[in-house]
């Protein structure tokens, strides 16, 4: 065995060089460091996905079923008032939001898996801000969600949905999809940190997903709901994601809440959840 003294010497560590000046500079350096670490965590997940993308293809089945079977049947029934929009057009952004929700809400399973091994512990012992660990993972859920967006767009094209191709609209869709995934994957991470076992998590995941989905405007407009459900739908972040997607994805789509409110709420919820998640995440190692 050949070992060199220089291979691993003590005292080789160093604190990152202090930023010149004070206050503002230091804060700036901290922000840059935070963003860099967040991207490293996202890169890690991206590399994993690149090694084994099969998961993403099996995920395509569910939105296909919803659009082709459910969408086609309800288009014929004409039971749901969607104004000038054909029902399949109305449904497509809803199903996009649903795929994002489903791919994000079971994200906590990966956290529990990493906890049952020793991965979480090693990340927590590294000098990485907790919020960067949480946000990095959330962004990677956003990346997975974007692959779902690709699939839903393909399906929508096949079904003759009038999709908007304006670059600004596409950019908006990407933003809404990533923000939605950040919200729901971080929510999922928080639950995982609380329940800590796979069995309990699966139970709770099932219980949460369906209410979030049905108590939203994903497959019918808020207007047709009974009053109490309208209140819940208004409080459900998924409704704002769907609303934004409906106005951005479709040719001539309109937002009923206003895009500013949609994005404002998604951003606010994401920020609060990341902060709460950063508080809960270290608990998962205990």
């Amino acid at each position: 065995m050949r070992h060199l003294a220089s291979d691993a010497q003590p005292g080789g560590w160093a604190d990152p060089p202090a930023a010149p000046g004070r206050g503002l500079w230091k804060a700036g350096a901290a922000v840059v460091g935070f963003i860099r670490k967040t991207l490293v965590i996202a890169e890690l997940e991206f590399r994993k996905l690149r090694h084994d993308p099969t998961e993403l293809l099996t995920r395509a089945i569910q939105p296909a079923l919803w659009l082709i079977v459910f969408g086609k049947v309800f288009s014929r029934v004409r039971a749901i008032p969607t104004g000038d929009l054909p029902y399949i057009d109305f449904l497509s952004p809803g199903i996009l939001a649903q795929s994002v929700l489903f791919i994000a809400i079971f994200y906590g399973i990966a956290i529990i898996w990493e906890r049952d091994l020793g991965l979480v512990h090693k990340f927590l012992v590294s000098p990485t801000p907790r919020a960067a660990l949480v946000l990095g993972k959330a962004l990677s859920a956003g990346l997975r969600a974007l692959t779902q967006a690709l699939i839903v767009y393909l399906l929508a094209l096949l079904l003759g949905v009038r999709v908007s191709w304006r670059p600004a609209d596409l950019f908006g869709v990407i933003a809404a999809v990533v923000l939605g995934a950040v919200c729901f994957s971080t929510f999922s991470l928080i639950i995982a940190c609380i329940v800590k076992t796979r069995e309990r998590f699966m139970g709770i995941g099932q219980v949460l997903t369906m209410p979030l989905f049905f108590a939203s405007n994903a497959i019918y407009p808020v207007g047709v709901m009974p009053g109490w459900l309208q209140v819940i739908a208004r409080a459900n972040p998924l409704s704002y994601e769907v609303d934004a997607l409906r106005s951005l994805m479709l040719e001539g789509g309109v937002s009923s809440f206003g895009l500013a409110l949609d994005f404002g709420i998604l951003l606010g919820v994401a920020a609060v959840l990341v902060v709460v998640g950063a508080w809960f995440y270290p608990k998962v190692a205990i």
Partner: protein, 265 residues
């Protein structure tokens, strides 16, 4: 100047004292072993020293910084190899190292060189671009050690470094730990329940039982204290802990450990 010092370090889980007023110090360059049956409080101690778990009371200083109030500084100066698998099976060996090189702020210009050297040091160059899920248990352990020394820690914490490895792989990991101490002078703090491991590696050992240290000294000192020529560290251990067989280890811990052992095997 001790590189690690604890004073009445205590951690309670509800009414149970997992670690009970632990006081010890470790000198730079030492290989220090914390020895005890499952459930003795070894892992809880390591989690407190590595900032993963806040102590209930008492103090601990690692590399000159307080583990509770100066967490960020402690984290930059320590390396940690958890008991369970901590390399990512879905990435290659090289990628596992790359991610940690970035998380530890190793400058871009030095990154490749350090990764290559760590791979060489652990004799993993040939498998660097294979997915870790295809590695053997001994290779995974060596990769995890490589990950933990990339940033050249002053002190390396290893929780049961050879659990679940077969005797051959165990010997190889031991050789690497010794090389790390001899060539790099890294201080090593490890836990184990294997007497042979403590005898092979450690300059000093503390025997831990039900959260407390019941004996402390070099393996030969401890053997002498118990008396007789033919004494092994096993005898010392039983002398100080009574019958260790019935103590510790919940169902959950055991099932986790076996699962890990199976994956590592």
């Amino acid at each position: 100047m001790a590189i690690l010092r604890t004073e009445d370090l205590t951690r309670a889980f509800g009414p149970i004292l997992a670690v009970d007023r632990l006081t010890l110090s470790v000198e730079p360059g030492e290989v220090f072993g914390l020895l005890g049956p499952n459930g003795a409080g070894k892992t809880t101690t390591i989690k407190m020293l590595t900032t993963l778990l806040p102590p209930t009371s008492g103090r601990a200083e690692v590399a000159g910084f307080d583990v509770r109030r100066q967490q960020a500084r402690v984290r930059r100066r320590i390396g940690y190899v958890p008991q369970l698998i901590s390399a990512d099976g879905a990435l290659t060996g090289y990628e596992n190292l790359l991610i940690f090189a970035k998380l530890y702020d190793i400058p871009r210009a030095e990154r490749e060189g350090r990764i290559r050297r760590a791979l060489g040091f652990m004799q993993l160059e040939d498998s660097a671009d294979r997915l870790v899920k295809q590695y053997s248990g001994g290779m995974i352990r060596r990769l995890e050690i490589a990950q933990s020394i990339l940033h050249r820690p002053e002190i390396l914490f290893m929780d049961e470094p050879t659990v679940g490895l077969d005797p051959g792989a165990r010997r190889i990991v031991w050789e690497h730990i010794r090389a790390l101490r001899d060539n790099a002078g890294t201080t090593i703090f490890l836990t184990t329940h294997l007497m042979e491991e403590a005898d092979e590696l450690c300059g000093r050992v503390a025997i831990m039982h039900l959260g407390r240290i019941v004996a402390l000294g070099s393996p030969s000192e401890l053997k002498q204290a118990v008396g007789g020529e033919a004494v092994t560290l096993d005898d010392v251990f039983i002398h100080f802990t009574g019958n260790a067989l019935d103590s510790g280890g919940t169902f959950r811990e055991t099932s986790r450990e076996r699962r890990t052992a199976r994956r590592l095997g």
